[in-house]
Amino acid sequence: MKYLDEFRDPELARTLLDQIEATVTRHWVMMEVCGGQTHSIIRNGIDKLLPPEVELVHGPGCPVCVTPLDTIDKALAIASQPGVIFCSFGDMLRVPGSDRDLFRVKSEGGDVRVVYSPLDAFRIAQQNPDRQVVFFGIGFETTAPANAMAVHMAKTHGLTNFSMLVSHVLVPPAIEAICSSPTNRVQAFLAAGHVCSVMGYADYAPLAEKYHVPIVVTGFEPLDILEGIRKTVLQLEAGRAEVENAYPRAVQRDGNPDARRMLADVFSVTDRNWRGIGMIPGSGWELSEKYRDFDAAYRFTVTGIVTKESEICRSGEVLQGLIKPNQCEAFGTLCTPRKPLGATMVSTEGACAAYYNYGRFTESEGAPR
């Protein structure tokens, strides 16, 4: 794989940091939307290198973190049913439902399998015609095309034993929800590069204009993120609020038209409840009428779900950028990756996990907190 070291070059990073420092004159709050960016920021220590005027707050873009609890409980119930092969991406397995996680279901005899692609689940369904194969189709616009393709192929092949439990979420409505909240303090957004590689960035222009916030499409490597921040600071200081693309090597204005056509066919927009945040109108995708037969929520009857969230977990405030993970009283004490209270402490893209795993050391303190 090329272009790894190139985008982690310390001298180029220094140059970008110098430019940011030279530009910034006052305190700005910007949000990186995607959890992948949050992890890159904390793992590489980018936040510690930025001038104090630039405050990064971490956004809701951690797919497993915002998947609603009742959907997870439904997944756990379906995965526990005899005859079901339940397929999921790996980092969903440790996400706590009301009383257990998929790992627990697996240890209790459920056939839970980690797959690397929804197409693997499709193949498992082909190979096991006498079993019901369910794929947990979650994520933002990034993972949606492959999920759509798996459902489309199942329909094309006439598979009757494949279905998907869908809980897709969409970025633009989430940005709108944050901007319109009375407690909002975010003044600019680093948009999620991989989401935009699928969807393009035309949808963000009305948001930038309506709420007067710069929105800069940003990648994931350290230099990508620094360049996104630099462009954002330039806009903020100049009083501009535009949509800009700082990730042109992966993102085009219209995204990936083929993928978008597939998405429009397979999914339809729906209201979605975000874990920790609440209902955001028009912020989700469900399977469209045409593909309803492949919707696990319809195929399996699951009743009696009573969700129970931790009373002390403040992951919702973390996901909205209202507090930093280490401002939560439970952080690192009652809540650790070993005993997580909320999904943000579990996922590889969760902000709390990033802070716990990588961010506990500060140079000035010289010792762990």
């Binding site: 794989m1 070291d5 590489n44 220590g45 510690k48 991406f89 790992f103 990756p337 961010g359």
Partner: protein, 349 residues
């Protein structure tokens, strides 16, 4: 991956039984045939030849003992197989306290139906690994479980090594100022297994690094390097090993992320799957904490071995942040390196 089993030859009567049967673990004639016709010729040595329940061997005043079970799936993978791994893994564990591994006891748990030829290939590979490491397989046991109650073959090996009177190496002996070295690229074994297990194709085949490390350790000690701590970063990878040592010694470990050798294909595979190579298993690498003034000499010794050509000094021991491993990141900041909770899980996107 295709395994060529055609080269394996086995004397009668094992040839007549193409698969392991329950009787091979029954303690009767079939068991005896397995020992006499397969294990004994492969591992031949005086102690084993007596075929007692226990082997009588020469000892020393200080011994190092270690045991490990091997359940790897698939049994054959690029760069090795479960047999080679079972010998090297235990040889390395014994050697990590500075001992010279001498003897290995082996217990096989075989699943009914395991192709005899596969067992033959695994046993041959164990014999080769033992020879390369300079250890003798002196005693063993075989059990056969019903079909469906095992995964083909599980191997437990117990190793014994002799320890010089003046050798003091342990996880609690790292001291501020020590240099931290790793003997080569990290993450090769774990990613090799993952690539075959999940049928993932990368630019080129990633091979397991399974290898005995006892010769490298012996040479380090012969060269007079003041070695304080040795560990082979197997499960949990380099991150877990460094953290364990930091905790056990009550010191901080500061490493430079960019100095840690990682094969490009392994790095790419990790990036693609969202894995951190610092948490991926190795089976032929060691981490050494040595007195700072001996660091260059230790490096030269490591690089003198074919398995150590990419050895590197990756950091140092500090008095600050005891029990914690901190890395200088590629762009010049810092981050914590911690132990994983369980298995590393590939991420969603």
């Amino acid at each position: 991956m295709t395994i060529d089993l055609s080269g394996w030859s086995c004397p009668l009567p094992l040839r007549d039984e193409p698969n392991i049967m329950l009787g091979h673990g029954g303690g009767g004639k079939m068991s005896a045939e397995l020992v006499e016709h397969l294990f004994l010729p492969a591992f031949d040595n005086a102690a084993l030849r007596s075929l007692g329940d226990g082997a009588v061997v020469a000892g020393a005043s200080r011994l190092s003992i270690s045991t490990d079970s091997f359940v790897v799936h698939p049994r054959f993978f690029p760069g090795g197989d479960i047999g080679e791994l079972a010998v090297n893994g235990t040889v390395n564990d014994v050697a990590m306290c500075g001992a010279v591994p001498r003897y290995i006891a082996v217990a096989f748990i075989l699943e009914e139906g395991l192709p005899m030829q596969e067992l033959g290939v695994i046993v041959d590979s164990m014999a080769r690994a033992a020879k390369a490491a300079g250890v003798a397989l002196v005693t063993g046991d075989t059990k056969v479980v019903d079909r469906g109650h095992g995964d083909g073959i599980f191997i437990t090996t117990t190793g014994v090594g002799v320890l010089g009177d003046d050798v003091e190496i342990g996880p609690d002996r790292a001291r501020p100022g020590d240099a931290v070295l790793v003997s080569g690229t990290i993450g090769d074994h774990g990613m090799a297994i993952m690539s075959v297990r999940e049928g993932l194709d990368f630019e080129s085949t990633i091979k397991s690094d399974t290898a005995p490390l006892n010769h490298m350790i012996a040479t380090l000690l012969e060269a007079g390097v003041e070695v304080h701590t040795l560990r082979d970063p197997t499960r949990g990878g380099l991150a877990a090993t460094l953290t364990e040592i930091a905790v056990a010694s009550g010191v901080g470990v500061l490493i430079d992320e960019r100095s840690v050798p990682i094969d490009r294909v392994v790095q790419s595979a990790c990036e693609m799957l969202g894995m951190d190579p610092f948490h991926v298993a190795n089976e032929g690498k060691l981490v050494a904490f040595v007195a700072a003034e001996d660091a260059e000499r230790a490096l030269a010794v490591m690089r003198g071995f074919e398995i150590g050509t990419r050895a590197a000094i990756i950091g140092e021991v500090v008095a600050g942040h005891p029990g914690m491993v901190v890395a200088k990141t590629a762009i010049g900041s810092t981050r914590v390196i911690d132990t994983q909770i369980g298995e590393q899980l590939p991420r969603i996107c």
